[in-house]
């Protein structure tokens, strides 16, 4: 096989891409490549190696710090044809990932009042649209069969 310049460059780039993908999946510098991961340039393939896959996560809200929590969102039950056709997965997947990311940020001590991460804003936007009151706070809880519900995160009071 005689390699052209275009072929040589393409092969070199692909080899580099494969090596970089392995490095970001196993290396200690994973968080530095979040933009590349976002664009799918350096994908992460560590499926279900975080504990968030082993519990159910839900969003609750309440009008003030003394009020009762109202369930606002949880993954919708799947229909019989979900293995083939599942349009609901799109929105539920976005909220699930946002909730998991926010809970992870909070657990790692990265959350501060006035958090403007995509995860926080996505959940806050959803709460604004769906909550039955004009101001309040939201919470993330996790649950699993045979286990009490655990509170993962509580937001400050917001006016929306």
């Amino acid at each position: 096989m005689t390699l052209s310049i275009a072929g040589t460059v393409a092969l070199a780039l692909v080899a580099l891409h494969l090596a970089a993908t392995l490095a970001v999946n196993f290396g200690p510098w994973r968080s530095r490549f979040s933009l590349a991961d976002m664009l799918g340039l350096l994908p992460r393939w560590r499926f279900f190696t975080h504990q968030r896959g082993t519990v159910d996560i839900a969003i609750l809200c309440r009008p003030d710090e003394a009020g009762a929590w109202t369930p606002l969102w949880a993954f919708r039950p799947r229909g019989s044809w979900a293995w083939l056709w599942r349009p609901g997965l799109a929105a539920d997947g976005v909220l699930w990932l946002a909730a998991c990311t926010l809970a992870q940020r909070h657990a790692a001590g990265k959350f501060a009042d006035g958090d403007c991460s995509a995860a926080y804003a996505t959940i806050l936007g959803h709460v604004r649209r769906e909550a039955p009151f004009r101001e309040g706070q939201f919470a993330l809880v996790e649950s699993a069969p045979g286990r009490d519900r655990d509170l993962l995160f509580t937001s400050p009071i917001h006016r929306w």
């Binding site: 393409a10 092969l11 896959g53 083939l84 349009p87 959803h126």
Partner: protein, 277 residues
């Protein structure tokens, strides 16, 4: 076409086209069915996303793009998928693949990373790989065609290896308890899954089957073709099971789209290393 790599790449393209088309059609249809989330005030309203931190150029794009563009892009993706499925001429296939890649890129930039899952990532890689392979075949450039096979087939192999190897370091995967826990959730589990299959013994065996199948998958690339075929079939059964049990319905199509490139990559690697066919 005398170079065997060009012959192998050309042989991989028809199946790749069909599988990418199936994924693109399914994805576009599912998003069209929930396109309200892109409307102003919706879950993925671009204008709202533009207020979040991020590169200035992507925020400017989010601010100025009309919300109706999302629906238009999904319709375009569905039409391009049909074109890709029915055509086998390079004059149509190359711009169609390039357009599908562009649409996916625009949607990722405008909608943010929460919008993308693993199936979208491998599908994008399969599309770029197919584009490179098709360009190589059209230009009779074996290096370019091999780069396409290596990108799609190589990333597929890396994805399985990473998925398996990273599970080994998790105690819950090693003892099977995480598989049991995942299948018991209402998010990723299946209530109709018989309770007896959630017992410790089954979970342990199933857990290690997944770990070993994924982590050892790269060895199949070096094995004779029937073993590679068996490994690919086993992984496809795994994807179909995750679609049925966990509702991950885009994954079988997206991962399968990289299978023809993987098959081609095996056919290139074995003779070049002097391994049995």
């Amino acid at each position: 076409m005398t170079d065997p790599i060009l012959t192998i790449a050309a042989a991989s393209l028809p199946a790749t086209r069909w599988l990418i088309a199936a994924w693109a059609m399914l994805t576009a249809a599912q998003w069209l069915a929930s396109a309200r989330h892109f409307a102003p005030g919706g879950l993925l309203a671009w204008h709202d996303l533009s207020r979040l931190p991020g590169p200035r150029w992507s925020r400017a794009a989010q601010r100025h793009m009309p919300a109706g563009l999302a629906r238009l892009l999904f319709v375009a993706q569905a039409l391009l998928a049909v074109m890709l499925a029915v055509t086998d001429t390079h004059a149509v296939m190359l711009p169609t693949l390039a357009a599908l890649i562009s649409i996916q890129g625009v949607l990722v930039i405008l909608s943010g990373h929460l919008w993308v899952d693993g199936s979208d990532k491998i599908a994008l890689i399969a599309m770029v790989g197919a584009l490179l392979a098709a360009m190589g075949v059209a230009a009779e450039d074996a290096g370019l065609a091999l780069a396409g096979l290596l990108l799609a087939g190589g990333q597929l192999t890396v994805s399985y290896f990473v998925a398996g190897a990273s599970k080994i370091s998790v105690p819950g995967w090693r003892d099977g308890s995480w598989l049991t826990a995942i299948l018991a959730t209402s998010t990723w589990g299946e209530p109709r899954f018989p309770a007896c299959l959630r017992t410790g013994g089954f979970a342990f065996v199933a857990s290690w089957s997944v770990i070993l199948l994924e982590a050892l998958f790269p060895l199949a690339l070096l094995a004779p073709a029937p073993i590679l075929a068996a490994a690919m079939a086993a992984m496809m059964v795994f994807h179909i099971l995750t679609a049925i049990l966990m509702g991950l319905n885009k994954f079988p199509w997206a991962f399968a789209a990289a299978y023809p490139a993987l098959w081609g990559l095996g056919a290139v690697i074995r003779p070049s290393l002097g391994l049995p066919a």
